[in-house]
Symmetry: C2
Subunit: 269 residues, 2 copies
């Protein structure tokens, strides 16, 4: 195998499993070459990937060290992503009445979702999280992509206890969006006590659902070390949680003039 091919194959392997550390020996064995050659290959792979502005290759030294691919987003690409996201949200055909917007086409567009996930990966990668947690349903594709990019297990909190979840713990919480008490349920097998989690969700109005996730996790002594929300409503200003990171804000939704306000969060990083 030529160097160019080896470098390409290395990028392929690292990108398949983002955030996962591969010992240098793995590549020595795979390509049957010496460590010195692999080190040069890694340098070439790193500069190729860095040039795309959407990730980098990191070398961790020491006995337990190795090399890994970390998804990333440049400032320029983040701005473009937020503009695209806002402009899609502003489309007046999303209006459903009662202040609700149809957003499933956006939250289930995996190319957009992948880039949104990278924003959260960049934001939360150094928080030492053990899990990515979400509550069903609309945030699951986004949370799945974050889990994939951060190489963490996904935890899906259910609305109702299911027999296929085994013993569960449930809580009730107040949902401002639906103006009523809702339920959440989590399998006792889903998380290890004393661990850390990042919460990912598609939308936040009053923060009740995010606070609910934090509360049900705290039943297992799981600490929330970050909350990433694709769209946060500007109103109500006072949310039930204070520490959360939206990618864009939803402003006024005026059904008479059929206008929807959306603006980027300029303070993600």
């Amino acid at each position: 195998m030529k160097r160019t091919e080896r470098v390409g194959a290395m990028i392929k392997i690292l990108m398949d499993s983002p955030s996962r550390l591969f010992p240098l020996q793995y590549f020595c064995d795979t390509f049957d070459v010496a460590k010195s050659s692999i080190s040069e290959d890694i340098n070439l792979a790193a500069s190729s990937v860095a040039a795309t502005g959407s990730g980098y290759i990191e070398t961790v030294s020491g006995a337990k060290g190795g090399v890994r691919f970390i998804p990333d987003i440049s400032e320029e690409k983040l701005t473009a992503l937020q503009e695209e996201f806002c402009s899609r949200i502003k489309d007046s055909s999303r209006l459903l009445g009662g202040g609700f917007l149809y957003t499933s086409d956006i939250m289930f567009d995996m190319d957009l979702v992948r880039r949104l996930a990278t924003v959260f990966t960049k934001k939360f990668k150094d928080r030492g999280a053990d899990y990515v947690a979400t509550v069903e349903t609309k945030g699951i594709p986004l949370a799945s992509m974050v889990a994939h990019q951060m190489d963490l297990p996904l935890v899906i909190i259910r609305r109702e206890a299911k027999v296929s979840e085994g013993s569960t713990v449930s809580i009730n919480y107040f949902s401002g969006s639906y103006d009523r008490v809702q339920k959440m349920s989590i399998s006792k097998r889903a998380v290890k006590p004393g661990s850390k989690a990042i919460i990912i969700d598609d939308f936040m109005r009053g923060g009740g659902s995010t606070k609910g996730i934090a509360e049900i996790l705290s039943e297992f002594d799981v600490t929330v070390v970050g909350a990433g929300i694709a769209i946060a409503s500007l109103l109500p200003e006072k949310k039930r949680i204070t520490d959360y990171t939206p990618i864009i804000y939803l402003g006024d939704v005026d059904e008479e003039t059929r206008t929807i306000e959306a603006l980027p969060n300029f303070q993600i990083f």
Copy 2:
């Protein structure tokens, strides 16, 4: 930029958006080089990726042509994946009683899910599908990954009509797993009439749920062109649908001896 770096960057860009066709001109503009150089780069990129046994780069000629990355899995890697999947399923600590198994840790392990998704991408890539459809909840991470790998929109069918889905169409169907009538609901905005869909789900016992998805899609004149199921139970032998592709089969679940049988589907391709 040196050739080696350009080839690496090209692999990075193609892998970020699997199955998406990039015109050659895109790379000429990005790297500011002539088409002849890009063509040579593509050949090098293609042989690098092919060497990993988990995907290939395809060139489509003609005015609307270009180059794309298609996820793939070698026979050897498929066998290893099925063995890993079966061995994890056979773990007796999964037994929940009533024949139910706890599988969320597996279905929410994104590294496994990514590889399972590639099996379905390989199987269904030439069926001309417009959507990847699933019903909430446990199959959503898998369906999300298939949608990502095939560059198709995801459609999530809900158990209950939600106000944020706008007008919906609902059906009732019989679920053998739960031994009762269940409901499914889909937003009228989710699919275009006359289109084609692939169904993805985590588990099938009698096939009621998969048949339900096909039925609700047929309300919109959407044709099912493939059904990929991570785990299909061997019993009942007679399912409500005939054309489906499991990755592994679940055999006898014996709660007395605490044994779970699982075996690979040797006829996926």
